[in-house]
């Protein structure tokens, strides 16, 4: 019922990942002394981005499978064809 949590989860992590990647790429290397010289924002941001994309893709696939099963999701988009 309600929502497929993979969708908001995917979007949240896509956004979090993007923020960290952009900030990591733009920030000065001197910021990363405390993290052992590793640009954690950039690298971990990429991981979060990948996770977000995976969750997003899974939720889309789930929605398509549900539509095929004759149980269309209640979004108005599916009826506009």
């Amino acid at each position: 019922m309600g929502i497929d949590i993979r969708l908001p989860l995917g979007i949240l992590f896509l956004l979090l990942g993007s923020i960290l990647v952009v900030y990591g790429a733009a920030s000065d290397a001197s910021l990363y002394g405390q993290s052992l010289g590793i640009n954690v924002n950039l690298y971990w941001g990429v991981v979060l981005l990948a996770f977000g994309a995976l969750m997003f893709a899974l939720s889309r696939r789930g929605a398509r499978a549900e539509a095929r099963a004759g149980n269309p999701p209640q979004s108005p988009r599916s009826s506009s064809h």
Binding site: M1, G2, I3, I5, P8, L9, I11, L12, F13, L15, L16, I19, L20, Y23, G24, S27, L31, Y32, Q34, S35, L36, I38, V40, N41, W44, G45, L48, F51
Partner: protein, 594 residues
């Protein structure tokens, strides 16, 4: 905190509230609100089952214990939680889910009688309010200690003494909004978000920390074997950091306390009751057990690293999170500071005490630059809030179904109970706020309450075990057993004392007849006595009272219930296979960290 950190925190809040708003429309019946319509997939319930317990006490407490006791803290997971989670999934869920009870107290009424349910429902309701209050207090205290809001408050010209109140109000409002709108579904979905956030925020922390101290072997070399072995030294209480011998640990923690919590506490069981089918309900705790098994690496390991690092008070000032002039402690854990005098607090030998609760927050500040720091702190706050929401959703269900519908106003319409659910969410949170202030003002009262809850909880598992697996158990037996078990816990506590403690809240208030090597040993043995007393008294009284009618126990007792039908699932997804996998993994981890 810098702008980027605020952005991440704000994004999280937007999603949390957004989920509540998105679910608002689907709350049509009380079942939707209290049991998420019994329509949640197993993996979502499983992660929520695990995360509901992952509140402030867990994340901060396990890191603190890691710094204090070392890897032996993993016993709370590897002989504590995991076997109990497997047991509830395989053996108990068929009765919880199959009986269609809407709550754990309701199961007790179906299986036993009204008085047993009443006792459990009322003590549980009070307990959840205080737990959620303590969570709220922990959030506010942490925000205050880490000076998260200080910069903002200064800029706005506000008095920084209001930060504690501000933090309480904010966390209360956020939790109120999303549980009020979306009920249990909202809480469960947010627990899933929280789970992934904790992993996202803490995994790099463990990685960086471990890399810094030279890996596990480096940690071993710095800290020595007492910190890095979980079983070695457990043959005697004096040869390990926990101060417990193996029997007390295995029986007290592994059996009585863990099974008591994971198998009977409605806060976690509710997550499985929301599952969409019997097989999903049974798989819920088993799926939760997989990440649970690995969580020591996320929550305990940072504590060990914090104590192993060279002592250094320096905290980067650009983070705007200045721990300030606090004196250095050990590793990166500062000394506990008396708020009124500003001096370190001393233990009874005159040595300054370490503030172990700051182990994990100090680690975040130590390793994370802006950006990741925001993610780490967001993960911490998320875990606190969903711990609170877990208590609130369990409270509103037990209040509405087991107290209000049973004793105050039976026979009203479903819409009325749905309304009551929302109303009780509001006053539940209001009471929690009161409890949070009480924890702030009167620490002793809080300690005492937690002690009383421990007495009430300790015998519970004996009642459920007998109720589910021995059809002869009667309501009178269960009720008397519970009272006797609670009394036994209190008497045992009153007669014993941990080594070096003063008579009073720590025990010995009747007479000191035995001294335990540590408080943990005393706790475990209190539980063992409570459980055994409840077990024996329940059996004796049951045999003395009239046997319950067997026809009424179908679906509630093992021997009178047909085996649950297995859904056609792939072999690896069946409950029994999941159970074997997770148990094998746990045995392996115990051996590796022997």
């Amino acid at each position: 905190m810098t702008g980027i950190d605020w952005l991440i925190l704000g994004l999280y809040f937007a999603f949390v509230l957004g989920i509540g708003v998105a679910l608002k429309g689907s709350m049509k019946t009380s079942t939707d609100f209290f049991l998420a319509g019994r329509a949640i997939p197993a993996w979502v319930c499983g992660l929520a089952f695990m995360s509901a317990n992952l509140g402030a006490q867990e994340v901060i407490g396990m890191g603190a214990s890691g710094a204090k006791y070392g890897i032996a803290t993993s016993h709370f997971y590897w002989i504590g939680a995991i076997p109990a989670m497997v047991f509830v999934g395989i053996f108990m869920m068929p009765f919880y889910y199959g009986s269609r009870a809407r709550s754990v107290p309701e199961y007790l009424r179906l299986r036993f009688d009204e008085k047993t349910r009443g006792l459990n429902a009322i003590s549980f309701a009070i307990m959840t309010i205080f737990s959620s209050g303590i969570s709220m207090y922990a959030i506010a205290k942490l925000i205050q200690t880490l000076h998260v809001f200080d910069g903002v408050f200064q800029r706005l010209g506000l008095n920084s003494s209001w930060i504690f109140d501000f933090a309480i109000i904010i966390s209360a409002i956020v939790v109120l909004v999303y549980t009020f709108l979306g009920g249990l579904s909202s809480a469960i979905y947010n627990e899933v978000l929280q789970f992934f956030l904790i992993v996202a925020g803490f995994l790099p922390l463990s990685y960086l920390g471990l890399k810094n101290v030279g890996g596990w072997s480096g940690l071993k070399a710095t800290l020595g074997p007492s910190y890095t072995h979980s079983w070695a030294g457990l043959s005697h209480a004096n040869t390990n950091r926990l101060g417990v011998e193996w029997f007390g640990l295995v029986m007290g923690l592994g059996f009585v306390l863990s099974f008591g919590y994971w198998c009977t506490d409605f806060l976690v069981v509710q997550r499985a009751m929301a599952a969409k089918s019997m097989s999903a309900a049974r798989r819920t705790p088993l799926i939760g057990a997989f990440p649970k098994m690995l969580f020591p690496f996320l929550v305990i390991l940072p504590g060990l690293i914090a104590i192993a690092l060279p002592t250094q008070p320096a905290v980067p000032s650009h983070a705007r999170v200045v721990v300030g002039a606090e004196p250095p402690g050990k590793g990166i854990i500062p000394f506990k500071v008396d708020a009124s005098s500003g001096q370190p607090m001393l233990d009874k030998d005159g040595k300054p005490q370490l503030d172990y609760d700051l182990a994990v927050p100090s680690m975040l500040l130590h390793y994370f630059p802006p950006g990741m720091l925001g993610l780490g702190l967001t993960a911490l706050l998320a875990s606190f809030m969903s711990g609170m929401a877990g208590n609130v959703t369990a409270f509103n269900t037990v209040w509405t179904y087991d107290i209000y519908q049973s004793y105050i106003r039976p026979g009203a319409t479903d819409a009325h109970y749905l309304w009551m659910g929302r109303a009780s969410t509001v006053f539940g949170i209001a009471f929690s706020i009161a409890a949070a202030y009480m924890a702030n003002r009167f620490n002793n009262i809080m300690d005492m309450l937690q002690l009383v809850f421990a007495f009430v909880n300790a015998p519970l598992f004996a009642t459920f075990l007998l109720g589910m697996f021995w059809k002869r158990t009667t309501g009178h037996g269960a009720f008397t057993g519970l009272l006797a078990g609670t009394a036994a816990a209190a008497i045992h506590h009153g007669l014993t004392l941990p080594a070096g403690a003063a008579v009073g809240i720590k025990g010995g208030w009747l007479a000191v007849t035995h001294t335990y090597p540590s408080e943990m040993a005393q706790n475990f043995w209190t539980a063992i006595y409570a459980w055994s007393t409840c077990f024996l008294v329940t059996i004796v009284v049951s045999l003395m009272t009239r046997a319950p009618e067997e026809s009424k126990l179908v679906g509630l007792v093992y021997s009178l219930t047909p085996k649950p039908e297995e859904e056609p699932l792939a072999w690896y997804a069946r409950p029994a296979s999941l159970a074997l996998m997770v148990l094998a993994g746990t045995v392996l981890l115990n051996i590796i960290f022997w």
